[in-house]
Symmetry: C2
Subunit: 327 residues, 2 copies
DNA sequence: CACACACCTGGAAGCGCTACCACCACAATC
DNA sequence: GATTGTGGTGGTAGCGCTTCCAGGTGTGTG
């Protein structure tokens, strides 16, 4: 539009165009310090005219603030990053960061080697930290430098605030629904044992079946549809009279349903199946599940670090039972 | 580990620890310029010892190179960003960028106002550009500054290279498969008209049905399951004898199947349904679809800008027919 | 033995920005 | 009339890094 070989304007250009010093221009843009209405006005118009956007690198350099949010995902191996849930988290954080001029990065932190996190946070480019699949060991390794700029999705600590899903409540609602609709031999395909949020679901399941005097039937899964597919067969092999299967996630449940249907077992007539998460497809395939606003949760987490909350609070988002066709 | 209040090391710290000047240390790390083996060695060990990671902001500042990749997604409204496909793209780009010390940002560019892209690229923080849902107008607005640092997913131009899916080939394979299995009244739920890749699919469909002397039956969709759900009913209302529905995406197909099943129409016995993309769930629900390595495609795109390819080449990734239960 | 020419090195400038400081008006106070 | 503000301003020092440049050493050549 303007000149041929456009070079993004610098603050100097703005100052010159506005006929003020760089300092004044900076003060106007930063909003702090004094500036006369005239100066303010002239700088504003110069900014508009030149399409000036501050250079985040320069800003980060002088503030020592870093330039991107790091999403650290704990897991046994790098394939955790292949999880669509991580995709969603990364994208949601990116969307929250973009208006603040921050980028996002993702990295896997091996479960067996949490201190690897330190190497990642030694990077001054890291402005903040979002922990996914958090373990207690990881929380202790969040450096002081990032205090108030770190948040955990899942469990928190005295220094690291967290946002979390009410997995226990969600699972309780699901299992109770199964019980209320006459299911008495309820099995569960769980998540990885080391994952706090998965454990809360499992504990809720156990508490409820125990309370009802039913046996607990657990097969360890990993959130994936594939694992659900295999786990379904294992459940029915070990406990053939099972009449309900609780999936730790929607993907798990979808895998379970796939296997059951392939084996000629009717859902929900023979076996009821439930999921957890309420992914978009759950509605399409009529999956009974627990719904929680994942995007909202992640966005809340990102917002916490962007706005630099200091209070190590835990925000728990509710989980709502959604009854559809599968149970 | 080391000192209590750890402050990430700077190049000065490294130089001091290694007993050389900052310049020498920088030269060793940059790999360019001369440096004696001794100096090289000492700097290396100092780096390891201190856990030094270069400050990307300072680096970007001196190089004028920017600090994050921008993913610009064209669409009629900001909800395009809610698409899981965008999630996946953002996450994949983030994964590719992270090792390079770059972050990612996402922004919507209104279809009706492509020049809004200029405001985004005026930000010196932008090191590179990935265009999603690209339109020709957008390609022309890629600034010179980003030449060789921009890539389009979909259509490209003389200056902007692209990576693309062989939508035409994939759709041809699908429609041919439907024809070969006896379907003669094949309808299609299309994508938005302005989207080049969707149009290629539609054109392939038209060409094939035309060639076979069949009528084209099109309902405009938008890639979403919801729209597929609604579109399925519209198809059957307008052409009750339809015996196959080609979905522009897996989500569309899933929506179509959901509606058909809800209406008591058997899939594939009464109506065959096909998708496009081969999302993870497609296998679970036995959807016949065309598969293409989306993650690999996005990664290829990201790699192109990270490695600053200059040749405006177009890389087309093949699309493979995956026959499963739904058609 | 002077010279060129390699290799190697530290000093210093500067990327674009913010923040501190010194300064200057002008008004209000003693 | 000297003093203390108060609102406004520009100069300048850096943030951590790269890169250019001047100045070293040491080898090989005329």
């Amino acid at each position: 539009m303007t000149t041929a070989a456009r070079r993004p304007a610098t603050l100097d250009d703005v100052a010159r165009a506005a006929g003020v010093s760089r300092s004044t221009a900076s003060r106007v843009l930063g909003g702090n310090g004094f500036a006369s209405p005239t100066a303010r006005e002239r700088v504003r118009t110069a900014v508009d005219l030149l399409g000036y956007v501050p250079n985040p690198a320069a800003r980060a350099l002088v503030h020592g603030s870093g330039v991107r949010l790091l999403i650290a995902v704990a897991g046994t191996d790098p394939t955790v990053l292949d999880d669509p849930y991580v995709d969603q988290a990364v994208a949601a954080v990116a969307r929250a960061c973009t208006p603040h001029g921050l980028g996002v990065a993702v990295q896997w932190v091996p479960l067996a080697e949490p201190e690897r996190l330190t190497r990642l946070t030694d990077d001054r480019g890291v402005a903040g930290l979002v922990l996914l699949n958090t373990t207690p060991a990881l929380l202790d390794l969040v450096p002081r430098r990032l205090a108030g700029r770190a948040v955990s999705i899942g469990i928190g600590s005295a220094t690291v605030p967290s946002v979390d899903i009410d997995n226990g409540g969600g699972t309780t609602a699901i299992v109770r629904h199964l019980y209320d609709t006459g299911r008495r031999r309820i099995a569960m395909v769980t998540g990885p044992r080391w994952l706090a949020c998965a454990n809360r679901s499992v504990r809720a399941y156990r508490a409820l079946v125990h309370e009802a005097g039913l046996p607990a039937r657990e097969v360890v899964g990993d959130f994936s549809a594939n694992r659900g597919y295999a786990a379904a067969r294992e459940v029915l092999r070990r406990w053939p009279d099972t009449d309900a299967i609780v999936g730790i996630s929607d993907a798990t449940a979808l895998g379970v349903i796939g296997r059951l249907r392939a084996d000629g077992i009717r859902v929900p007539d023979d076996v009821a199946v439930t999921g957890f998460d309420d992914i978009p497809l759950a509605a399409t395939v009529a999956l009974t599940t627990a719904s929680h606003p994942v995007r909202q949760i992640i966005t809340a987490a990102a917002t916490m670090v962007l706005e630099q909350r200091t209070a190590p609070e835990t925000t728990v988002f509710p989980s709502a039972l959604v009854v559809r066709g599968s149970a």
